[in-house]
Amino acid sequence: MHEHDVLVIGGGGAGLRAAIAAHEEGADVAIVTKLHPVRSHTGAAEGGINAALRDADSWEDHAYDTMKGSDFLGDAPAIETFAKNAPEEVINLEHWGMPFSREDDGRVSQRPFGGLSFPRTTYAGAETGHHMLHTMYEQVVKRGIEVYDEWYVTRLAVTDHDDPEDRVCHGCVAYDIKTGELAGFQASGGVILATGGLGQAFDHTTNAVANTGDGPAMAYRAGVPVEDMEMIQFHPTTLPSTGVLISEGVRGEGGILYNDEGERLMFEYGYANNEGELASRDVVARAELTEVNEGRGIDDEYVHLDMRHLGEERILDRLENILHLAEDFEGVDGLEEPMPVKPGQHYAMGGIEVDENGETCIDGLYAAGECACVSMHGANRLGGNALPELLVFGGRAGAHAGGRDLGEAQIPTGQSAKSEDEDVDTPVAPGAIDTGDEDVAADGALVDPDEVVDHHVDVEEQRVESLLEKDDGVNHAEVRADVQETMTQNVNVFREESNLKEALEDLRVARERYQDVYVRDPSRTFNTDLIHTIETRNIIDVAEAITLGALAREEFRGAHWRAEHQERKDEDWIKHTMLAWNDGNPDLYYKPVILEGEDKTYEPKERSY
C-alpha cells in the first residue's frame, strides 16, 4: 500500500495546481494519473485565462459577467471567490515563468472573449493551455512532488456508512498500466479528484480520448451527488471532420461567421445584434445549427469562419496555432480560405458537487477542475473561465486538504442541502441494472483506513480478473460507440422530449450489453483494452446522468434548449439538478441556487447579446 498525506487523482491543470498548493502547506502529496501529466487535456486549451488584472477592470465586473453568462444558475459564493482570486492565480503563473503573450510595455496581453464586458482574457498565443500545463508541471518537478504516471484509478476507498454524508474517503485503488498490478493508496489528509472532462460520452467532441468522466462516475457511485449534469457546452467552432477546436480567440480577434450565401449570419438573421460573433457560446452554436437546418449551411453541415481580413501579421502573432490546426486536420489554409466549423461537445458545466473549499459531502474527498461543479458556470460557461477556475479551486482544494483553514464554506453539499421535500419522479430508473461491482455493504462496519483500502483493492481485483478471464462476449468499443452515437443524435444542442427518452432507452440497452463485456487481451502488460473497458462503464453512468437531468429540466436555460419549453422559467427552475446514486437506487432532487453574494444579490435578467 502507498501512503501519503494528500492524493491528487489526475495530473492536468487542476491536479497540478492542487498538488502544488498542498505541498506548500507542507503536506506529503502524490499525483496519481492515467496519463503522464504533460499529456493531459489542459494542454489543448487555446484561447486564454480570464482575470481582472487592470485598473479599468474589476473582480466585481468579472463576477457579474460570469453570473449573467451562467444564465443565473451559478452560485454567488463560488463566482465571487473565483473572480477575486483569479488575478493572483494568473500572476502566480506569470511568476512561475509562463510565456504569456506580451504588450509593448512588457505586461501580459489581454484580449476580448465572448460574454465579457472587458477584454480580460490573458493568453499565450493560441496555445495557452499547453504553456499553462507545462509551466505547472515544471513547478511540480521543482518541488519534487511524487508522480505515479500511467496509473489508472478505478475506485475510491470510502467507508461503508449508510448515509454518504457519514462516509469517509481514505484513499483509492489504482492499476499500474505498465505492469497490471493493482495497489491501494491511502491518504490521511484527503483525496482530490481532478480527472477532467467527459467528452467521450459524445462522438463529436473537442475532448481527448482520455476524457471519459472517470471522476464523476467514481464519486457518484461512492455516494457523492452529481450536479447540473445536463449542462453541456457545445462549442460553436470545431472542425467538422475531427472535432478539433478552433479557439474563440479567432472571433475575439475579429473573425467572422458566414453562411452558404455569404451572409454574416449573426447579424443577418438577428441571432445577436449587439455582440455578433462574440455572443456567448450557446447563442452562436444554436445560430449555426439553425442556419444548417434552414438550408443555409455549407454541405448541409457547417458554416465558415473567416479570419483572412485580420492580416497575416496579426494571425501569426496571436493565432498561429490555428493555422496549423486548420491545415493539419482539415487541409485548409486559414490565410487563404475561410475555415469550416460546426458545433461540438466541449465542456461539462456540471459535475461532482463540491463547495468553495473543494470538499464533497464525503469527508476527505475533494474534487476540482472540469470534473467538479462548484458551481460557477451554471447553464453556460464563458470562454476563458475554465482555466482560472481550475487554478482558483484546484488551489483551494489542495490547500484545504493540506491543512489550511479556509473558513466555513457557504455552499451546502449532500442530500441535506435539498430544497424541496417532495420526491421528484425519475423519468426512467437510472442505473437500475446491477453490473456486479457495487457491493458497498452499507452497514458501517468498514471504518479502519487500512481495512477500507484493502477491501476496495480486493473488490477491484475480482472485477479485473473476471474481465480478463472471460473468453468471449461484447467488445467495449461497440458499446461505447452506441452510447456516443445516441448522445450525439439525441442529447445535443437541440433537445426534445422524445429524443431524450430514446437516448435513455439506448443507454439502458448499452448497460445490458455491458454486462457481457469482455477483455480480449489477456496480458497484464499495458492492457489498454482493459482500461477502455472500465472507462466505458463510466461513460455509460455519466451519459445517463446527463440525459436524465436534461429530461427533468423542463425549461430553456443557457446551453439547455428544450423544444417543448422555449422559455427560461425562473419561478420554478433557479435550482440545481442533483442526482445521487444511493447504492444503485438513484435519487433525483434539487437544491437552491445562491444568488446572494457578499454585498449584493444578483437579479436574474434576460440574457441578450
Binding site: 499529456r39 489543448a44 493572483e88 500572476i91 515563468g97 480520448v209 496549423h324 489477456p522
Partner: protein, 297 residues
Amino acid sequence: MSTEVQEQETETEAETEPAESPHQSRRMEQKRQRAAQRDLEEEARTEIDDAEETVEIKVFRFDPEVAGKEEPRFDTFHVPFFKGMTVLDALIYARDHYDSSLTFRHSCRQAICGSDALFVNGTQRLGCKTQIADLEDHLSSTIRIEPLPHQEVVKDLVVDMEHFYDQMEAVEPFFDADELPDGELEEQRQDRENREKIKMSTRCIWCGACMSSCNIAAGDNEYLGPAAINKAYRFAMDEREGESRKQERLNIIEQEHGVWRCQTQFSCTEVCPKDIPLTEHIQELKREAVKNNLKFW
C-alpha cells in the same frame, strides 16, 4: 530487441454479434435500421469521394507475456480509407474492429499531448498529425507502423519513456528567477522580442521523436539529447531568470554529455512535429558556452 520479425496475416473480419434478449433485439433492430439508413446516406456521400478504397497497414506486435506474441512480428490490417484519415485513425479502426489487444498510446488526437510518436514508413511522426494521403503510394503499398526506434518496447507500439523523462529532468526544467518583483500582483516584464526568441522552444510536447531520431543519443545513453537541450535553451534565453541562473544552466549543458556531443546532423529538427529549430538552438548554446568560457580565460 531483434529486428528480425515474422510476418503474419490477421483475420480482418468484424466480431460476430452476441446473443440478444427479445426486448433488446427489438431495440437493436430499430437501431440497425437507423444505422443502415445513415450508412446509405453516408455511402451516397462517400461514393462521390470514391471511398471503397482501403489502406493496408502493417503493424509491429510484441507482448512479453502472451504466448505467440513474445516473438516480435508484424500484423497486417486492411482499413477502409476516408478523406482526411490519419495514421492514428487507421490504428484506432484496426483496434476497434479487428483486434482490441492492439496497443498504442494516444489521447488528444490534435498534436498537443505528444503521446503518439511512432515510426511510420521509417520516419518518426505523430500518428494523429500524419495524413495517410500524404504518405507516398498510400493506396498501393503497405504503411509500416513501428514503435519509436532506440527505445525499449513495452508492448506493440508502446515504448518506455522513462529515460526520455529523466533526461528532460536533468536540465532542471523549471523557471527559477533570481528575484521576483515587489508586490503580489506585480508582473515580471518581458520584452516582446524576448518572448519571440524563446517562443519556438516553449512548444515542445515531450513526444520523444527527436531523441529517437538522433544517432548520437542512440550511441550514448547519457547524452542529454535534443529535447532536453532545447528545454535548457528555453530557460537560458529567458531574460527574466537573471545572469547567475543562466550561468548555472550553461554549466549543465556544457558538461561532457551535453551540447558538444551534437554533430549537427539535423535529424531531430527534421522530425520535430512542432517545427522547433532544435539544431539551431543547440548551435546557439554552443556559441554561448564558448563565450562563457572565454570570460574566464
